[in-house]
Symmetry: C2
């Protein structure tokens, strides 16, 4: 930040009056953020709205006002910056996702989540790329080569499930929530990794060697990024456990956690890995080990501070996208052929719908084959919800599109301008229209949370159980689960899929108890630090 | 941020490999921040070191390493950015100062603090400016006009009491702590306001009208900034009290508090006021009203999150200053006359010592005249501590000097380069040498905290007293205070000074109880929200 990062910050404020407009912009933006929070809060009970749509609407409204007051000249006032997005806004969101995820649910459904997030995204990517090649070639879109088409596939495979997650309830539908949530994160990472792989490979002449290299690269990125995140999380746990920062100040613990998390993100960027995956797994490890090594005040603080940062970043993004959507420069280029622009956006929306359906239903079927109990299976209504949950396109798509089709936020080429405006249209349409329909749809499909079978949430998720390991809740033997329920005998196919996974859980748990938690700390393995929040908060006041 | 602020962020990371060095810099910086926290923690017990000096030393060491590895070319790797400082780093520090200040102590000593912070800084400013004119005119410093000399006075009046505050203990020496702390904040604001006033006025021909206008401007800035901060704080209290955000999420409350505080800062910048003062008073009002309107989790979170942000920003600044001190470009300009540079730095250090002594001792004497009880008076040992506490010069001086004597961090003019290098020398010398001597000096002057008279801290500062108002702890009548102590009758001079202040306290308290707290909330005026941290933190895990 500021240290040779090459960005020249504007002379602002108190000391230099040269750039008063920038102070005005910042004031406007902070005021709008406050307005989004207040209005979003007031609309909480409304069955159609949610915070994302509120922010998007406020952003659009402000964009219109700015456009009108400046007489249509303000095209440069709000330029979407993918760096701002990838360096400052995305890390807190993804880290918080990992930090707050219900690990038990996440790891129980790990295989399904990976299936949806990685394989599903690849299927979706393939269909959208293929569809784009098929349809756009016949239209006058400007010169797009094979790399551009594949990039389009990656751009529009990146889902944005924020809207859906605001509607689903982690306690009422834990299976669904963890699937949608986990898939969202893995999907983000997959599409960014895909996008980068496409950018860095020469795709004009594909042969099997290059394809193999591509797959190898993809797997390397996936595994290396995950490992880096896990290592960073373990390092933070070890340092905090050994040095016992709480003795002197709880602020140091919190600062170290924030900095280590950010460090893992930047380190991943440094090694050209997928920083999203890294910071996500860093969050998971931190919440499993590090979080238990800090004082009670630090626990409360980190939990809410990370959630708040993520919350602000999300609103910021939607406000930003809403305001940027009206950037007049790009629309001017395509205004000569509005029909074509609408056509391309519609085709893309159709491909998104199709591409997602093409993997959600088959993969759900596949996943259900591995499950023994009916309540573990993904029902048809849940499949529709999962399908719907991933139809929205958001800031990741925007950022990737800007990276591919513009140079520093500007474009003059007709083909590129069309792709940018189409992306904006798709993002706005899917977020607003699909987003508005999410709440009613979820209420229709999953009518009363009380009436639903509680699915996998039947285990006690009470805070009293002080030694629940990272994976599963002790399914070493089947008898553990059979408390009163009639259990169908597993078929051979089921055995094939489920046995290895269960064995891994079992050994992991043993390993966690015997080695990991004694070294890195964790629930039940660190002495309780009596500095209770109320006690601590009273000091110094 | 990014929205027409005119700064072009570097293409960074994952998506664009063009600027890999910036990722390296960021990694290095985050890693150094972590190192500072860990090493600072390990050196906690050491009687000489503190976190500021650790960060400064690490910064200097890294600067040397960078300089050596790049072969002396890295002058542009680390450019001090006053915008980064004033827009991102200073607000959390000052806001946290207001938020965590012991309000009772602060307002009890309000007059003394204002005397030291405002009048004292003006005296110091006058002496340093006058001394600079007197000495530098005879030396070959390049062309400096009257405005430059006055700016030098303002630059070197800005104290940096972070070191001292790390040594003093708020519970053991509350009077001293609140004086040093309060003076530090008011001093920062005063010197920035002074600096801005000097920048905006044509000082080549001063007459009484301009001088009067200058004083009027100064007072206007002071009062308007304070009012804006108070209003922003009250607005946040009112919104949160009325809307009851805790019902839905504690994160929204925290987000709104952070955003409103930052909004007050930016709004103050917008109106060309003193943003430091604004955000300081916003912090005070927020901790008196808003903080009591939020859930228990939000209280713990805000308290520690603000402290953590402030902590990181402080370390960041010292690291930054340490690394920037070795910027080779500036030193090259002055390397032809090293003796002169040393001479100027020495003169400035002497003027700082003198300028501070010239107000601490007389003003302490004046302040003591208004006090009735011996334990309320500032003893000679405490006066020496206060004098010493304000000798360090820090990031505010650096930022002001860069603003005055460089253009976007670079300078070629000889006179300007000399002033920049002198500022760096003074900051480094005063922070390291004076800073290292602070801990031993404080231990020598105030030997055992237990042996000391507990001064004003004898009242119960327990968290159980649930309705202590903003000013005083109920000194309506003198009998309230006379619990067992022999009270000397006030002399007429004492009466003259102390009676109005006490009356103001009395009426303020009545007003606070009757109107302010019922409207804006506050201790004892909002129902306790039962969402206890432990209960809340268990959910979602």
């Amino acid at each position: 930040m500021g240290l040779g990062l090459g960005f020249v910050m504007s002379k602002i404020g108190n000391l230099s009056t040269s750039d008063h407009t920038s102070v005005v912009s910042m004031n406007l933006f902070v005021a709008l953020l406050c307005a989004c929070i207040v209005i979003g809060h007031l609309l909480e009970e409304n069955r159609w709205m949610n915070e994302s749509i509120t922010a998007l609407a406020i952003g659009l409204g402000t964009g219109v006002i700015i456009l009108l007051t400046t007489g249509g000249k303000s095209s440069h006032l709000l330029v979407f910056s993918e760096d701002l997005f990838f360096i400052y806004l995305l890390p807190p969101i993804i880290f918080n996702a990992g930090f707050q995820v219900k690990k038990k649910q996440f790891f129980r459904n790990f295989m399904t989540i990976m299936l949806f997030g990685a394989v599903g995204t690849l299927i979706s990517f393939g269909i959208i790329s293929f569809g784009a090649i098929h349809f756009f070639d016949k239209m006058d879109v400007g010169s797009l080569d094979i790399g551009d088409y594949l990039a389009i596939g990656a751009i529009f495979s990146a889902t944005d499930s924020v809207c859906t997650l605001q509607v689903l309830n982690q306690d009422e539908t834990p299976l669904l929530y963890s699937l949608v949530f986990g898939e969202g994160v893995v999907n983000d990472a997959t599409s960014v990794v895909l996008f980068n792989a496409i950018q860095s490979f020469d795709l004009s002449h594909i042969n099997s060697a290059i394809a193999l290299q591509f797959v190898g690269n993809f797997l390397y990125l996936f595994i290396a990024s995950t490992l880096l995140g896990v290592l960073a999380g373990l390092l933070s746990a070890y340092i905090i456990k050994k040095l016992y920062f709480g003795r002197h100040s709880t602020d140091r613990e919190v600062a170290l956690m924030i900095l280590m998390a950010y460090f893992s993100y930047m380190l991943s960027e440094l090694f050209y890995l997928s920083a999203i995956l890294t910071v996500f797994f860093c969050g998971i490890v931190m919440s499993h080990y590090t979080w238990h090594n800090v004082t009670e005040s630090s626990r409360v603080t980190t939990k809410h501070a990370f959630a708040t940062l993520s919350f602000i970043a999300e609103i910021f993004i939607f406000l930003y996208v809403g305001m940027d959507a009206l950037d007049i420069e790009k629309w001017r280029v395509v205004s000569s052929s509005p029909g074509e622009s609408v056509g391309i956006s519609s085709i893309l929306l159709g491909l998104i719908l199709l591409g997602r359906a093409a993997f959600v239903f088959p993969l759900s079927f596949l996943s259900n084959l591995t499950k023994k109990f009916p309540y573990e299976k993904i029902g048809i209504k849940q499949q529709v919800t999962i399908w719907w949950a991933g139809l929205m396109r958001g800031a990741v798509s925007m950022a990737l599109a800007y990276n591919k089709f513009t140079r520093a936020g500007h474009t003059q080429l007709r083909g590129n301008a069309i792709m940018i405006t189409s992306t904006i249209s798709v993002v706005l349409f899917s977020t607003v229209v699909f987003g508005l329909m999410t709440k009613p749809l979820v209420r229709f499909l999953l009518p009363s949370p009380k009436g639903l079978p509680r699915m996998v949430s039947s285990e006690p998720s009470s805070p009293k159980s002080l030694s629940v390991p990272l994976l599963g809740n002790g399914q070493e033997s089947e008898t553990d689960l059979n408390n009163g329920q009639s259990v169908p005998r597993p078929t051979s196919l089921r055995m094939l899929f489920s046995t290895p996974s269960r064995t891994v859980h079992h050994y992991w748990r043993k390993f966690d108890d015997a080695f990991m938690r004694p070294v890195f700390g964790g629930r039940g393995f660190v002495p309780f630090v009596p500095g209770s929040p109320t006690e601590q908060s009273a000091r110094g006041w």
